[in-house]
Point group: C2
Chain length 336, copies 2
């Protein structure tokens, strides 16, 4: 049975949203209640289960008594509060009680806990964060968006094959097209990192098609299914897109009002667009490259986003994404 | 008299759009005809002047007989076709016949020609490209967006003071707020480059306010007037924003149609939004840090974008942006 540990203490809305997300994940049929381990301060979680009338559903509660106040650095949190909900949740994966972990806590803490507590997958040197966004022609995945701001070329190669495995297993794309984030389409563009990574990606006969460099304008145009990036650039890419989308939604609201579009129509249009730019739609960010499926949700995630994240994590476990990553990494190692 | 050299051969639409842009710049009162030097294959330019009925206006034509076909690398173009319109235009700035140069040719060629042909401003080690974009609270400038994909910390410091001088002189912002593009707000976030640049920017008492790190989500929110970035990240930032805006405009069109907004209203709304996301609105990209004002326009620029670029270049020359940059660099050098 696939089991997912859920950090009920993380996020802006705390246990209330997380328990509601667990409840919704069960209602939507993503998982059964017994597949979820609710990690958090036990009394608080049980109170919330009672309050939401789901105490009888059979969720297992795993106590994590150390409360974080958000002021700790990841290192401090791990050192001084080892029984915080993130570390305990990762621990459930480590000991094999859970196959995945979902948290809306701080990205830094989740990444640090996972890198400290979990082994890297065989053949993978550094994990990276993959985020799936909707573009002109459907979803695409950007990896890495911040776990590794100073990668080596080999890490980028691994991000390519991990992103491809994820898109194949979760979105059913047989032979994902992988592109390398760069500032021009020519081979020699960019910096030494991307030039070396490009040669490595070109030389690999993997289960994906390497389409070469992609530029910023290509990102949303659907030129590829996986965009490989260093964590610094990938983070800026992701967050600028979010900020740009927010700005444009505001502009759009103003433009419709000014043009005299009826208020109810305005609302309808903006509602549709919000769904298009909802970057949590595809279930949060995945830290790929470690044992288990580790999912990081936006702090502002509501119950629906959490339920989606639980669903995606469960699907990724079921689809054996990690096994396929290890297999792809072995092929690469054997070939080089 | 301020004189601007205009490359009439660059861009997707060639002499037709460039001559129309020159004409429009005069009509809008940005410059007088005798302030413009039209650089290009003389016969072609004169034919276009006749065709557009502006031969009598008094534009000076500067012959640049070497035609580029777009297949040359910048180095090849400079070596084998030294009398191409970009090199000749830059040459007009070099000898002091023009104070600014406007081109819609390839960014690579314009940057290479300028770095080869023009001196760096006193105190500045590496030029950078500044682009002004409209955000939630008005225009802001990102520098560098691609001239220098592997800068040193000192270059980023210079981008900060150059961007600030530009925003002060051209947009009248007394004390521009300068932010450093990073992947978190904490001091120690990012990579060694941004950490060192942060210390340098913090230690400088310039005519600007250093607001610290900015993240991707802050870019369009109006948190600062100048965003300092390495050229790789800045290029991705700019182009992803363009791509994201394009994607959202399409989504928006579809959403309005689906919601049943009347076609003429749809058109009106999209028209307003297009003006909001028109990244050429503020007159193209400026290569700051070299003698003269060098402006690079989108290849797809139409006459209006070219006219704006001529106006901005002329204003930047008139406002003595370069003198103010040299002054700011001297203050920094004296302090360190």
């Amino acid at each position: 049975m696939i089991r997912i540990a859920l950090d009920t203490m993380g996020g802006d809305h705390g246990p209330q949203a997380m328990v509601a997300g667990a409840k919704l994940a069960v209602e939507r049929g993503f998982v059964a209640a017994e597949q979820l381990l609710l990690v958090g301060a036990e009394a608080a979680v049980r109170t919330e289960l009672e309050a939401q009338g789901v105490a009888q559903l059979g969720f297992e509660v795993v106590d994590a008594p150390d409360a974080l106040d958000g002021s700790e650095s990841p290192v401090e949190a791990l050192k001084r509060k080892p029984h915080n909900s993130v570390a305990v949740g990762i621990g459930q994966v480590k000991v094999g009680r859970a196959h995945g972990f979902v948290s809306a806590g701080s990205t830094g803490l989740v990444v640090a806990s996972a890198m400290f507590g979990l082994s890297c997958l065989e053949g993978i040197r550094r994990p990276g964060i993959a985020v799936t966004i909707r573009g002109e022609k459907g979803p695409f995945t950007v990896m890495d968006v911040g776990a590794n701001p100073q990668p080596k070329p080999q890490h980028l190669l691994h991000y390519g094959l991990m992103g491809a495995a994820y898109m194949r297993d979760t979105f059913g794309i047989e032979r994902p097209r992988v592109g390398l984030m760069n500032i021009g389409s020519e081979d020699k563009k960019g910096n030494p990192l991307v030039r070396e990574a490009r040669e490595m990606l070109q030389g690999v006969a993997g289960d994906f098609e390497f389409v070469g460099n992609v530029e910023g304008v290509d990102v949303f145009a659907g030129k590829c299914d996986v965009i490989v990036s260093d964590g610094f650039t990938g983070n800026v890419l992701l967050k600028v897109s979010e900020g740009c989308a927010e700005y444009l939604l505001h502009s759009m609201g103003r433009a419709m009002a000014k043009a005299g579009v009826a208020p109810d129509l305005q609302k309808q249009v903006l509602g549709m667009l919000l769904r298009d730019v909802d970057f949590s739609e595809y279930g949060g960010a995945l830290l790929l490259g470690v044992e288990g499926i580790v999912t990081i949700c936006h702090g502002r995630s509501n119950a629906s986003a959490i339920a989606n994240a639980i669903g995606v994590a469960s699907r990724a476990v079921g689809a054996k994404v990690n096994e396929h990553i290890v297999h792809a990494a072995r092929m690469v190692t054997a070939a080089s």
